[in-house]
């Protein structure tokens, strides 16, 4: 019911999307610009005609002046100065990020941009053109292989983390930042594409979703309690090495004792200060190899009736 109320409200206030009457969005209008900004431009603007913005037969597509404004001063240069006055909307420092976004959102509201207002990037004045190359035939942020180039321009720590020994396949171009994040804003934390971190992770790791008979509380609540998704020194993208990661929450029974270098094969505890013969040595299993996960492998949840300790 609320959906219909909202729908009625929105519909009643719809104003249509027609461009202002004074703008000629056709090729004739564009020619005012392209007679100078032609194929000789260092950053060719003409490539826009290869993009959805250049499909002139679609009456919704903009012309140059739809986005840059009529820019009469720039076009006519009435004072005849050597450097023409700038266009009305130049998508540079002269135009606020908000004004730039408003131009784009006239056509691109809703969908992926539903949460733009108030989002992290909106509040930090990141304009659309900081990420999108509007005139380029291939907007690299729309390509899963090249998208990270754009994101890492600002998110440098994450860029470095993708070079760790345990990573998602970002550097290989098999995964894109936008598989997990919606840079335009979202209902989830840290711009997650879904409502929560876990909901986002389950889009690729549905086997972790359960619901399990035996659920592990921090796993249910937030995958990032244990994992750091951009890259880690520890296998399986863990935030810290096991068993010490596990011991941050578990100190009962066999998770209580210390795990130190003395518990490794040949360590002081193994040799009891050098007095234990080789055949009697027994390094602590929890310190070695896959440690806790050697037995508690179903740590994300178990559906075995005897799996209460995540080992079945």
């Amino acid at each position: 019911m609320p959906a219909f109320v909202l729908l009625a409200w929105v519909s009643a206030n719809a104003c249509g999307q027609e461009a202002p009457a004074q703008i000629d969005r056709g090729l004739k209008g564009d020619a005012v610009c392209t007679r100078c900004h032609d194929e000789t431009e260092a950053k060719p603007v003409l490539s826009i005609y290869k993009t959805p913005h250049g499909v002139k037969a679609d009456e919704r597509t903009p012309g140059c002046q739809s986005c840059h404004g009529p820019s009469e001063a720039h076009v006519k240069n009435p004072k005849g100065s050597s450097t023409r006055p700038p266009v009305d909307v130049d998508y540079g420092p002269r135009t606020t990020a908000h004004a730039q976004a408003e131009t784009c959102l006239k056509c691109h509201a809703g969908g992926q941009r539903a949460h733009w207002a108030g989002s992290e990037h909106e509040r930090r004045d990141v304009p659309c053109t900081a990420c999108h190359l509007i005139h380029a035939a291939h907007d690299r942020v729309m390509n899963s292989i090249t998208q990270q180039e754009t994101c890492f321009a600002c998110h440098k720590t994450q860029r470095a983390q993708t070079h760790r020994i345990s990573t998602h396949p970002l550097a290989a171009g098999e995964m894109a930042c936008s598989d997990c994040h919606n840079p335009h804003g979202s209902a989830g934390p840290v711009l997650m594409v879904k409502n929560s971190v876990n909901e986002t992770c389950y889009t690729c790791h549905a086997e972790r979703r359960g619901p399990f008979l035996w659920s592990h509380q921090p796993v249910d609540e937030d995958c990032t309690t244990c994992h750091t998704p951009h890259g880690s020194n520890n296998t399986a993208l863990l935030k810290a090495r096991t068993p010490w990661l596990c011991q941050e929450c578990h100190t009962a029974d066999h998770s209580g004792p210390i795990n130190s270098g003395a518990n490794l094969p040949g360590g002081n505890a193994t040799t009891v200060n050098g007095t234990l013969p080789l055949a009697n040595q027994n390094p602590r299993s929890q310190t070695n190899a896959r440690n806790c996960l050697s037995c508690h492998a179903m740590i994300h949840g178990s559906n075995h009736p005897a799996g209460a300790r995540f080992s079945r």
């Binding site: 929105v10 969908g111 949460h115 108030g118 020994i165 098999e174 409502n195 029974d253 013969p277 080992s311």
Partner: protein, 894 residues
């Protein structure tokens, strides 16, 4: 400052073009032209649909699973290079809205992608796609099991139970798989060090001869194959309908740890077969107008696991098997609604909400470990999720921006709670009867005291969050922001007999401030600080929800208890750990005897669990513990000259778990990023970046022992303790649970340095040749410092051995030692040349070198003879040095 951002983007573009998309060469980048195109041709190239095809071959000089972890290049030798990018349809100046694209990338290797997109813009679009992703896990893994790749794993008929007869003739011990440790001298019960006898040697040699050859290498990898498609229809000027689906099949094998036998707490690493399918569907109506929008949609995700269980032989006795369940099949269905409305030109309201149901009803596995069978045939699990997000943003003046947001997120687990009674893997029923046979209405002796009687705990969570933010920008060059966030979380379990959550309520307030400024159009800086304080009502006894017998007075209390465990804890305010007192002069009686043998931890037999599930008093699980969080972010961007741009960024985080005595106590870290970009002109640039990250965490625990009044080890005269906090065995044992020397702490430090350098030179050879190269060096290391220690008995302090000589310790205190550094060094160097041949073709040359060296002590415990209680896999840390060469020809078809 935008110029700085632009230059950085150019740098990263070059870096990723060379390294990330190793084989996706041409389509994303314009090819240099050998001959200048005429004006008309140039315009056509820029504006008309085009088609490019790339064909070539490459060579990997050495196979490496790690190098090929995700890129499909794990094998040595030649590989094909095949990419294409074809576009067609009407021209921009035509009256056609029809466009299409067909793209293929990395088609020659197991990381291939293929996509097709057809659209009549403003009317409809259809897209199809295929994507393959192989994930290499290990190529050094070894296993003795037959049937790898299936879910039934048997040991070979010749398999002998690994044991070291001179140390213990019957116990499983994987040291027997090494001729060094298996044939080494051992301490006899009489306290003598003797080499193995001829018979013992023969037994070990027989084990070595039978078992070691059974270990075969088996490569572990998984493969994802994704098919997808979607379409969208523009129903009217304002309405659109879209739908898409994606099917993913995942198969292969991955390592799975499994308890092979709870009798001796041994485990094996099995090759777990993977065969799953995930189908995801999305459909929605979208309405957009000048002042608002509305999206109504459905999302469904269906996960099917064709492997329901895995069964394997016990290495201690190959006639016994154990079974583990796999991840159950499940479904998730969600309805979403989102809308936005511009209340005024400067005020916007956006609302989104969703309702989802997550279900799972796979039949339970049943085996002999369940003495009473199953209480129900499946979990019939259901989680209902509800989410609401409301944001109101306003710009009352040009200088002021306000945001108010509310978020509600409810994860309501409605799974039924039932009682599950089981013995651990391959564990025989014990001799002593359970105290709860009577309470459960069972004949005496039905269950033994080593049984587990557990209830499941369906965790639910409800979050409410309020955000208030204000930004003030008095000038275009400067802005201030203040923010406040309150977050309240309530947790609970339906139908558990006691509150199941350590933190049923937590509240967190966060205060934020930020300052941004720009000076002289060449310098931009940002400093942001946030402080958060989380308070939690921590419940140390929440673990009792798992063990329903804790609320039952034992029918035949073995220690004279007259109330339930829970009753006693409630009366005394203790936790399951018990009182921190010394060993009493006389045994405690009545309900106090629940801590047995007097003042120690609650005995498992009195709450129906084979393991102790209680935790130390003072432990706070960090994700639900009181916490003070400080965050600092800063950055500085400086356009030093037209050619040189510099950037710096600094991040600092500090979490203090101020009320935690054990568990994670503190986590802090900082990261510094520096970048420089020197651009001589549009054809030559040299960007460099460096990032250092330093993360530290400190945690604590207690390896407490058991309070006893035992005064010696083995023989009456063996009373001395070397080191530690007590001089005698008696003093140590009387204070076993409060020995300060057993309190340990860990200081884990993870550091990583990443250096990147890119060189790009365009327009050589009369504009025909572009060169690009990059280098990335990463040095990551983990250091774990540990304080504290543990006790170990003198191996000669035995009942059957002579009394130790005067002054010889019966017990040694083994001080903790730091762990060896875990380090990884990676060097990547990649060079590329693009040479134009004519107006429509180019030749690409690629040369890459990669080197990885890693050291990790975890692998030491996976080797033959390492003596851990885990069947060896003989895996090795990754290490490789290799080169990749490639040559390809790119032709512009149209």
């Amino acid at each position: 400052m935008k110029s700085i951002n632009n230059s950085v983007r150019v740098r990263t573009a070059i870096a990723a073009a060379v390294q990330g998309a190793l084989l996706s060469l041409a389509p994303a980048r314009p090819a240099p032209a050998a001959e200048p195109a005429s004006g008309a041709e140039a315009v056509a190239q820029l504006t008309q649909p085009s088609g490019e095809l790339e064909v070539g071959a490459g060579d990997v000089t050495k196979g490496s699973y790690k190098f090929g972890e995700y890129n499909g290049l794990e094998h040595e030798g030649l590989f094909p290079i095949l990419n294409f990018d074809l576009s067609g349809g009407g021209s921009y100046d035509s009256d056609s809205v029809r466009r299409w694209d067909v793209r293929g990338a990395d088609l020659g290797v197991a990381a291939r992608e293929l996509s097709l997109d057809y659209r009549e813009q403003g009317k409809f679009r259809i897209d199809l796609g295929f994507d393959q992703l192989r994930h290499n896990i290990s190529d050094s893994y070894q296993t003795p099991y037959l049937g790898t790749g299936s879910n039934t794993l048997h040991l070979p008929l010749n398999w002998l139970k690994p044991s070291v007869p001179q140390a213990n003739a019957t116990n499983l011990n994987d040291r027997a798989l090494s001729p060094v440790t298996g044939l080494a001298s051992a301490v006899t019960p009489a306290g003598a060090v003797v080499p193995p006898t001829a018979a013992q040697r023969a037994q070990v040699i027989a084990i070595l001869g039978a078992d070691v050859p059974d270990f075969q290498r088996y490569n572990l990898y998984t493969q994802r194959l994704r098919w997808g498609g979607g379409f969208g229809v523009d129903l009217s000027r304002h309405w659109q309908f879209t739908a898409n689906m994606r099917q993913e099949r995942r198969y292969g094998t991955q390592p799975l740890g499994a308890i092979s036998s709870a009798i001796q707490e041994n485990s094996v690493i099995l090759p777990e077969p993977i065969d799953t399918e995930t189908d995801q569907y999305e459909a929605g109506f979208h309405y957009a107008a000048d002042k608002g929008f509305l999206d109504v949609g459905y999302y469904g995700s269906m996960f099917l696991n064709r492997v329901k269980a895995i069964t394997w032989d016990d290495p201690a006795d190959r006639t016994r098997t154990a079974t583990m369940s796999s991840a159950p099949s499940n479904q998730f269905h969600q309805v979403n609604l989102a809308g936005g409305y511009s209340v005024s030109p400067n005020t916007r309201l956006s609302v989104s909400g969703s309702y989802g149901r997550s279900t799972q009803n796979d039949p339970f596995l049943s085996d002999t470990s369940l003495p009473l069978g199953l209480p129900e045939t499946s979990a019939d699990a259901l989680v209902v999720s509800r989410n609401l997000d409301v944001k109101l943003s306003a710009r009352p003046t040009r200088a002021v921006r306000l945001l108010a947001a509310y978020k509600y997120d409810d994860h309501d687990n409605r799974t039924n709670v039932a009682r599950f009674v089981f013995y651990d893997v391959n564990l025989a029923k014990g001799a002593a009867a359970s105290s709860f046979n009577g309470a459960l209405g069972l004949p005496a002796g039905t269950l033994s005291s080593n049984v587990n009687i557990f209830n499941n705990r369906p965790h639910s969570r409800r979050l409410n969050q309020l955000d208030l933010n204000a930004d003030y920008a008095p000038t275009r060059a400067q802005s201030f922001a203040l923010g406040y966030q309150w977050q309240g979380i309530k947790r609970h379990c339906h139908n558990t007999w006691i509150d199941c959550e350590n933190a049923d309520t937590s509240n967190e307030s966060t205060f934020r401030a930020e300052w941004r400024a720009r000076f002289l159009d060449t310098l931009e800086t940002r400093i942001a600080y946030a402080f958060a304080n989380r308070t939690v009502a921590y419940n140390s006894n929440a673990w009792l929800a798992l063990v329903p017998m804790a609320n039952v007075v034992p029918g035949a209390p073995t220690a004279g208890a007259t109330t339930s465990v829970y009753g006693y804890l409630t009366q005394t305010g203790l936790t399951g750990f018990g009182p921190l007192a010394g060993f009493p002069a006389s045994p405690l009686t009545g309900a106090a005897a629940l801590f047995s043998p007097n003042n120690n931890i609650v005995p498992q037999s009195l709450y129906g669990s084979r393991d102790n599930d209680s935790e130390l008093p003072g432990l706070r699980r960090f994700n639900v513990a009181d916490r003070r969080r400080n965050k600092l972010r800063s950055s500085l961007d400086w356009q030093a000259s037209e050619r040189l741009a510099l950037q710096g960024g600094f991040e600092y985080n500090r979490d203090e778990y101020e009320h935690s005595t054990y568990g994670l106590l503190q986590a802090r870290g900082w990261a510094l990023s520096l970048e420089g970009d020197y651009r001589l002109n549009d054809d030559f640039e040299l960007p460099v970046f460096y990032t250092h990250e330093d993360q530290r965490s400190r945690s604590a625990g207690d390896g407490f022992g058991t309070n006893t009044n035992a005064a010696f080890v083995g023989r009456a005269g063996n009373t001395l303790v070397s080191g530690g906090c007590y001089a005698t065995v008696l003093a140590k044992n009387l204070n076993g649970k409060m020995d300060p020397c057993l309190i340990w702490s860990t200081d884990m430090r993870e550091r990583a340095d990443t250096l990147g350098l890119t060189l790009a030179r365009k327009g050589l050879k009369g504009g025909r040749l572009d060169l690009a190269g990059d280098l990335v060096y990463t040095w990551a290391r983990t250091d774990i410092g540990v304080s504290g220690g543990s006790y170990a008995n003198n191996p000669f302090a035995l009942a059957g051995a002579p009394v130790l000589a005067p002054g010889v310790p019966a017990v040694f205190f083994i001080p903790a030692t730091d762990l060896p550094t875990v380090a990884t060094r990676t060097l990547q160097v990649r060079l590329r040349a693009q040479y134009a041949v004519g107006r429509s073709s180019q030749v690409n040359l690629l040369a890459a070198y990669e080197r990885l060296r890693s050291s990790d002590f975890a692998y030491d415990g996976m080797q033959f003879g390492s003596g851990t209680e885990q069947l060896p896999t003989n895996e090795r840390p990754f290490s490789y040095s290799l080169a990749v060469f490639g040559i390809s020809f790119i032709h512009r078809l149209w």
